[in-house]
Assembly symmetry: C2
Homo-oligomer: 213 residues x 2
């Protein structure tokens, strides 16, 4: 893969981070990459396609970096702690912010939507794998399945990331709260069969899944 192509991808990531989706243009990316503006079109045909590639490749690399840590997780609390570490560490490098910006742009742009869907799927798959492992045999699985739980966690972290851009204190306490609540899962495991029975009784009374209103 050519050196210039790499520079442009990195330039796009940096520009999305520092100037947002509204400030991301062929000119601003090229300036950040230290290359000529016309090369954006030579290598990627359009700005959209460069942003698309940057989002996909940037996320793929980041997820790969964290894979070992995901594999080491053995509880919901550890998973959320990893999420918080990731959120703090990536506030510096800004890779999570990039996904948030692309996701915002994706609401009206089909090409960016594809990139955002791809990036979200990478994170969600990783989280889902962890959940599948740590929820096995836990009473928590009476309530939620990993396939629905994983996007909920991914979405929450992205929302908190955006929140952090305008109110860091509130975002920090939101992160703390999520982690504190994960103690509920451990409590359920502590209580074991007692909890499971109580849970089943309550679910019978309210009706599972469909109608919660």
């Amino acid at each position: 893969m050519s050196d210039t192509r790499r520079k442009l991808i990195d330039g796009a990531i940096q520009t999305l981070r520092t100037r947002g989706i509204t400030g991301t243009s062929a000119r601003s990316i090229a300036a950040a990459a230290g290359v000529n503006q016309a090369l954006v079109f030579y290598h990627f045909d359009s700005v959209d396609q460069l942003v698309d590639a940057a989002c996909r490749e940037g996320t793929a690399e980041l997820v790969a970096e964290y894979r070992a840590r995901f594999l080491a997780v053995t509880s919901l609390r550890e998973l959320l702690a990893l999420g918080r570490d990731l959120s703090v560490a990536e506030r510096q490098s800004g890779n999570v912010a990039v996904l948030a910006q692309v996701l915002a742009g994706a609401q009206q742009d089909p090409r960016l939507a594809g990139a955002a869907r791809f990036a979200l799927a990478l994170w969600t798959t990783e989280v889902e794998g962890v959940l599948r492992r740590i929820m096995a045999g836990s009473p928590v699985s009476e309530l939620a399945d990993p396939a629905g739980f994983a996007p909920a966690i991914a979405a929450s972290f992205i929302g908190i990331e955006l929140y952090g851009g305008v109110d860091p204190d509130a975002a920090a306490s939101a992160l703390d709260t999520l982690q504190a609540l994960s103690v509920l899962a451990e409590l359920l495991d502590d209580l074991g069969p007692v909890a499971r029975r109580a849970l089943r009784a309550r679910l019978r009374r309210t009706g599972r899944g469909a109608d919660f209103s």
Copy 2:
């Protein structure tokens, strides 16, 4: 308040919804509002300030519309059900999407950051009031306080809203999952003193609040 001013606010909201923060300009807003482009600057001085006003006023009106329903909530599950209703209803009118767009733009723009902070505070205050009411006396308050819980809920819903723009199915099951998990709070209330004792024992073992790693 002048008729044109109102049209411009509505036009800005509609433009943010249908074209996103990247497609929102004085020209596009004026077209949506059916007024002359120069009037944006006569009434609001700049596009930024119009978007700022649209975000603040639009959110204030929406929160006011839902206030009665917030007041009627008596459990965490009902609160999340209201959130889901709101999320579904506003996907049509698009008012939540507007906040998401402004929030994305706010990451790099101090003026928009003020508007986003204001809008988020409106929602969070409402949610916090409900939590303060329904968490009173519940064992859940051993784990989380309303001031940290409220932004976590607000952020999660915004994240899910954005997720829904690229993957509606995943977003729907994320909403379902959050609601299913709220049954844990009810279980805790069912178990009463037993749960509270078990919770305290576990918190003593792990250490409260600070270090969850």
